[in-house]
């Protein structure tokens, strides 16, 4: 309760007080070396994801059957990749694991960014409309969320994914213009676009619930009533008075939800429903590694470490931001 009144007061003078909470948080975050390390790691991944061709030594789909399942550090002496050093080893088709890992970064980061963006945009607007709407509107909107929520998430995503990818197998003349655009978008991203749609379709539910709860809490407080009394409209109250107060918990929740998006894509690719080969995803690379576990454990090792480290970094960061933004835990 103390916490909420402090933030409520912040709402009256948004410019100075609320910024200082963020500044406090930022200062606290910068002091923690682990947090800085996580942030640097994620920035590095983003840079790599933006320009994988700069970092990858060779193409992700270049096969070399004479150099199958080579251990890390092997120098290729025959085939198309002669003279190339497999720093992370090669997979069962003789492809360079390091290069594939680097291109796989693009998939995971894209899912992280797009998943978060969709969930944020849809979830925050839906939650705000429900929370700030009349009791009737709120009731209907949240019942809809509740119903979709009862559907096991992963099952819904798998179903959607199968549904969407089946479109691309149809002859082009059987689908409308919209369908053709969607399918061409999907094939140009190696099947990634439909993964976005499937994950995006379910990811906003949690955010909508969180935002709605926060709005219900804040909308009865004095600073909102004061804003209404002086004649602020609905959109102004939502945008200028409610949003700044609820954005903190939303960012925390979103950061902590990102590992789930990355994992969902990895799992879909693991069972062969995600991005289409030869496009590498960490999930499909883990599947490759799992099947070669007995003879070539390094094929599993590198994508497994990359996936776990990335999820760990987001979890660490989310936890740290939560602690930093929570006045109760500040020392």
């Amino acid at each position: 309760m103390l916490n909420s009144t402090a933030q409520g007061a912040a709402g009256l003078r948004p410019a100075r007080q609320s910024r200082s909470l963020w500044q406090d948080g930022l200062r606290q975050l910068r002091k923690d070396p682990v947090v800085v390390l996580c942030a640097l790691y994620l920035v590095l991944l983003l840079v790599v994801a933006l320009a994988p061709q700069v970092f990858a030594p060779v193409s992700y789909e270049q096969t070399d059957f004479s150099e199958k399942l080579q251990p890390p550090g092997t120098l290729a002496t025959t085939g198309k990749l002669t003279g190339h050093v497999y720093w992370f080893g090669s997979d069962k088709l003789g492809r360079d694991i390091l290069s594939r890992l680097i291109y796989g970064t693009r998939i995971s980061m894209a899912v992280a960014v797009v998943g978060a963006a969709i969930s944020f945009a849809l979830g925050v607007s839906y939650g705000m409309l429900a929370g700030y709407g009349s009791k009737h509107v709120d009731n209907i909107m949240m019942r809809i969320v509740d119903i979709i929520y009862a559907y096991p998430t992963l099952i819904l995503i798998i179903l959607l994914q199968v549904f969407l990818t089946s479109f691309s197998q149809r002859p082009p003349d059987q689908m409308g213009a919209f369908g053709q655009i969607m399918v061409s978008l999907d094939s140009s991203t190696g099947g990634l676009f439909f993964v976005f749609v499937a994950i995006g379709a379910v990811s906003w539910l949690n955010m909508a619930r969180l935002v709605r709860g926060q709005v219900l809490h804040y909308k009865l407080q004095e600073f909102v009533q004061a804003a209404r009394v002086v004649g602020a409209g609905r959109s102004r109250i939502m945008g200028r008075h409610l949003l700044p107060n609820i954005i903190g918990p939303c960012i925390v929740a979103e950061t902590l939800a990102i590992p789930a998006y990355i994992y969902t894509e990895a799992f879909l690719s693991f069972i062969g429903l995600g991005v289409q080969p030869p496009m590498p995803s960490w999930g499909s690379m883990i599947a490759d590694g799992y099947s070669a576990l007995r003879t070539a454990p390094w094929v599993l090792f590198f994508p497994a470490v990359a996936l776990s480290l990335t999820m760990l970094a987001f979890n660490f960061l989310g936890d740290a931001i939560r602690d930093a933004l929570d006045p109760k835990t500040q020392k």
Binding site: R143, D146, I147, I148, A150, Y151, P152, T153, L154, I155, L156, I158, L159, L160, V162, F163, S166, Q169, R170, P259, Y263, A266, F267, F270, I271, G283, I286, A287, G289, Y290, L293, R294, P297, L300, A304, L307, S308, M311, L312, N315, F316, D319
Partner: protein
């Protein structure tokens, strides 16, 4: 209390219609059918589709399905011809439940003590290491944890068999030794969540006035902890068992893929790709029912742990 239960059960009705409706429509919108293959002549495919009523309008098929489902008849599998879906799914459900319960037990046995120890030693090394292990545990996904565990314990140390499922009927030890790795894979992340939840909740309770009062009365430390602190600290943990069951359900889908376990999740993925409509519908209904039922149980248990719940309504 009774009202709450009735409301929850009534709530299942719209949920049921929406979930089955979405699944039914999506499955029927998929191109291809269960009988399509290179070898079968189109005339025969049409005949078989007619025999299973697949040539009727979709809404009619849905109503027929609803009518049968109301009598717990989920129809025949379209791939293993003639045999009822239930004949496949009941054994699969038993397998999935063994896995799920083993994972939940593992999660509770590891997570609860870890969270309690961390909270009681707040800020000291026990707390810091438990928190660190928990966040690492949450971050290692099952598709990594499973293969890595197999590599360590089955291939390198040779302590446990490589992924495969052995039914309980084949003996207790063979069954258990095959169950351990999948259960740990599924339970590890959950135990980390439980540990964090328990720690946070216990820390909050330890600051409450009634705990201070109990200490001030001179009650022994053990009594204060068990009767006053822990009992109340467990309320959020129990509430979380609902979402946790959902996590076990979807998690088991992953773990069953990784360890090739013949559970519900495996049937689900394979029956989607083979367009075995009745099988997909039955799996989705069972999953949804498990989740709704778990939430109902949580609501009821909540009432027993915290009698104030009833008055608050």
């Amino acid at each position: 209390m009774a009202r709450l239960i009735v409301r929850r059960i009534l709530w299942f009705i719209p949920v049921f219609f929406v979930i089955t409706g979405i699944t039914f429509l999506t499955m029927r919108a998929l191109p291809g059918g269960p009988f399509d293959s290179e070898k079968t002549p189109p005339a025969l495919v049409q005949q078989m589709e007619a025999a299973f009523g697949l040539n009727r309008p979709v809404y009619e098929q849905y109503f027929i399905w609803l009518k049968n489902a109301a009598q717990l008849d989920f129809g025949p599998s379209l791939k293993q011809r003639g045999k009822p879906v239930a004949g496949f799914l009941l054994p699969a459900l038993v397998v999935s439940m063994q896995l799920g319960i083993a994972a939940l037990l593992f999660a509770l046995v590891i997570g609860l003590p870890a969270g309690i120890i961390a909270a009681l030693h707040r800020g000291r090394w026990q707390d810091r290491s438990a928190t660190l292990v928990a966040i690492v545990g949450v971050s290692i996904p099952a598709i990594v944890m499973g293969p890595v565990l197999v590599w360590i314990f089955a291939l390198q140390l040779d302590w446990l068999p490589v992924a495969q499922w052995v039914p309980l009927a084949d003996g207790f030890w063979p069954w258990l030794s095959h169950l351990i790795l999948p259960a740990i894979t599924l339970g590890a992340g959950l135990s980390a969540i439980i540990a964090r939840l328990t720690r946070a909740s216990l820390l909050q309770v330890l600051n409450e006035d009634y705990v201070r009062t109990a200490k001030a009365k001179g009650l022994p430390h053990r009594v204060v902890m068990l009767r006053h602190a822990l009992r109340n600290a467990l309320i959020p943990v129990v509430t979380y068992l609902g979402p946790l069951t959902a996590a076990v359900v979807t998690g088991s889908l992953v773990v069953e893929q990784v360890f090739a376990i013949p559970g519900m999740g495996r049937y689900f993925v394979s029956s989607i790709t083979s367009r075995d409509y009745p099988m997909v519908m039955a799996v989705v209904v069972i999953y949804a029912f498990i989740i709704v039922f778990a939430n109902l149980l949580v609501d009821i248990s909540y009432f027993f742990i915290d009698p104030r719940t009833d008055h608050a309504q």
